[in-house]
Amino acid sequence: MGVTKEDVESAIAAALSPSHLVVTDTSGGCGASYEIEVVSEKFEGKRLLERHRLVNTALAPHMAEIHAVSIKKALTPAQAQPQPEPAADKPQA
């Protein structure tokens, strides 16, 4: 039922060929809420808004069944290198 973590992962992987991808199901199991971290070369030269649009577009076929997507990180490989960040607070859906 609904969208699985694997669905989300494969949709993003197919669209963005990410070098790093973490999808976390934050729905508590119903598959309606995800947190996403992506590192992709395709983000190069793009503003955050445009990066999120790329992710949104990749997920568009699933969005009807997903209630909430939180894109925690959308970085280029270069940006992903230097700064290890503490986990951000999680807003819930």
Partner: protein
């Protein structure tokens, strides 16, 4: 300018045509040809059932003549455009700033409130058509949606990110100064 006005006129006519189609056709024969055209488009529109996108089925139809079959929606679209233009800090959210009905909306409001700017907010949960209009306007699937100085900034993830990086401060700088 003149062209704009005439476009608006044609739109107005197209609307009134649809509103009182047969009666108007009899009363005003000059419009008959246009009417036929318009009803033809209506048919193709009907075939597309509940499609929410703009009707483009008939390639010969100039967009001015497309009676999109959603008069109320297109006026809502105008409201969205006007909202964005008139409110330097605008958020379409679930619930209200004092009573948000979604964690993401609450977060976005909280972030914006750090800057002491006055925030205009609209609750999209209480108006499904408004919700769809906003989504169509920005081509963005989720709420909240934040607009600053007429420009779509993004959702809660983006606003939080900009806050953390200090970008939001720059963006809101002159809005905060103006007070308002």
């Amino acid at each position: 300018m003149a062209r704009l006005v005439s476009t608006a006129l044609v739109r107005g006519i197209a609307r009134s045509c649809r509103a009182s189609s047969t009666a108007a056709a009899m009363a005003q024969p000059t419009f008959q040809q246009f009417m036929a055209y318009s009803s033809q488009v209506d048919d193709s529109n009907a075939n597309m059932a509940s499609s929410t996108t703009r009707v483009t089925a008939d390639p010969d139809t100039h967009q001015d003549f497309q009676p999109t079959s959603k008069g109320s929606d297109s006026s809502l679209h105008d409201i969205v455009a006007q909202d964005i233009k008139e409110n330097p800090v605008l958020i379409y959210m679930k619930g209200y700033p004092d009573a948000p009905r979604c964690g993401f909306s609450a977060l976005a409001v909280k972030v914006l409130q750090q800057y002491g700017v006055s925030i205009s907010a609209r609750d999209i949960l209480s108006n499904m058509k408004l919700k769809e209009s906003v989504k169509a306007h920005t081509n963005w699937p989720t709420f909240p949606q934040i607009f600053i100085k007429g420009e779509f900034v993004g959702g809660s993830d983006i606003i939080l990110n900009m806050h953390q990086k200090g970008e939001l401060k720059d963006l809101l700088g002159d809005v905060a100064q103006k007070g308002e």
